[in-house]
């Protein structure tokens, strides 16, 4: 068994705010909150050095439940906000979180460009394959035959996105899939993602007990990828395509130049930029 010798000074609960989550009992998003706090405690990151940016939706409430800097942003625009923040404050550890609807539908364009831009941040999509906050509509990751929503009787008939495949084709340099039933494994994955220099993306299978109660059986279907993490996009693509979407692990990781305005990218002097907008 592996044992770390580094003493952990900060407790995970130190990263939680006093606000109690309003998520439904049994929601997978609780485990993501736990995993984030465990990862931050393990890395011993001072709270004031971390920012968590989110969009809109059940899972995007997560920013309020941590004690790090937070911004509960606009629907689908969490990555745009996070990019602006990272451009101005390179020193911050930037985490971005949201749901499959927020990140892959209205935020889809921001997602693919964030992947190729490769700014140093970690993006977590809590994927429950449904819009929960608006009472259960099909999202971009919903199976075509899911017909429980009145808006899509008989299902959408549209093939779902494969978030990992989308991220790979858009140029993400770190791609992983986790599961909320394994919050400790998810925390380890988050540590790796945060430590990765560049844009790291984690699709988290996060069951919705209210609108997709059948997802509570995911714990019987999720399994770890047998293969090691690949830095070969072709191998990673094959793994993603051959998988049923229920395997977990770090699928792809590659060292590519990180985009940071001012560091070989576009000029990024926040003070100068601010002065240009002075009235």
């Amino acid at each position: 068994m592996n044992q770390s010798n580094a003493p952990i000074q900060i407790k995970p609960k130190d990263y939680k705010s006093a606000i109690k989550p309003v998520w439904c009992p049994g929601c997978g998003d609780f485990a993501v909150l736990n995993a984030i706090t465990k990862a931050l405690a393990f890395l011993e990151l001072p709270k004031e050095d971390v920012a968590l940016i989110s969009g809109i939706g059940c899972s995007s409430r997560i920013a309020a439940y941590t004690s790090v800097y937070g911004f509960h942003g606009v629907h689908g625009r969490a990555l745009a906000l996070a990019a602006g923040l990272k451009a101005a404050r390179e020193d911050l550890t930037v985490l971005v979180a949201g749901g499959d609807g927020d990140g892959l539908s209205i935020g889809g364009n921001h997602f693919i460009h964030a992947c190729r831009r490769n700014m140093d941040m970690t993006y977590i999509i809590m994927d429950n394959r449904v819009y929960g906050m608006t009472k259960g509509q099909a999202s971009p990751t919903t199976a075509p035959d899911w017909g429980d929503s009145k808006l899509t009787p008989g299902g959408t008939g549209i093939r779902p996105f494969q978030p990992a495949g989308l991220a790979l084709s858009a140029g993400a340099s770190f791609i992983a899939r986790g599961f909320t039933g394994d919050p400790n494994g998810l925390a380890r994955m988050l540590v790796a993602a945060i430590e990765h220099p560049g844009f790291s993306f984690i699709q988290v299978l996060s069951p919705c007990p209210t609108f997709r109660p059948e997802q509570m059986n995911w714990k019987h279907h999720v399994q770890a990828f047998e293969e090691e993490t690949s830095s070969d996009p072709l191998l990673a693509a094959q793994r993603i395509q051959a998988d049923d979407g229920m395997s977990t692990g770090i699928i792809y990781q590659e060292d590519v130049p990180v985009f940071q305005p001012g560091n070989g990218g576009a000029p990024g002097d926040a003070v100068r930029f601010e002065s240009e907008f002075e009235i």
């Binding site: 010798n5 952990i8 609960k13 009472k135």
Partner: protein, 173 residues
Amino acid sequence: MNLTQKITSLDTFLAYSIALEEEAADRHDELADMLDVHNNPGVAATFRKLAHYSRLHAQEIRDHSKGRSLPVIAPWDFDWENMEGPETADIGAVNYLMNTAQALQIAMGNEQRAHDFYYQFSQQSQDPEIRAMAGEFAEEEKEHLDLLKMWMDSTDESVDEQVYDPDPAHMPE
């Protein structure tokens, strides 16, 4: 190789035991928060009480560990049989309308698994110190289990009660 063979030092066994109790306490608090937010104060109070007992047990184990240098183990490096510690309640087992008897049933399952964990060490560990300590912890878990059974007997609620919400949230639109 099972865990009783992998853990060969009392220090590591104690580190595992503290983690087991703390993780269980944190989960009970989390479940209590869920039920608080969903206006089920009775069940929330039950989970809160269970968290308190898990913390007491963790403190007892810490007292046993005084003067020892326990290894610091990252949460994901604990080699539990399942994805979480044996006493940790399944986060998906709760419902916002659940009654106290159903909460106690979950708790009894947690305590039983914790008892089995310690009992296994008390019987199979090669280290006599671990066997003795594990036997003590197993006995304490059995006492918790007996207490929960007593609470269960004293409640007039049923674990078989069907939850009914005349205005359920789970009506997809």
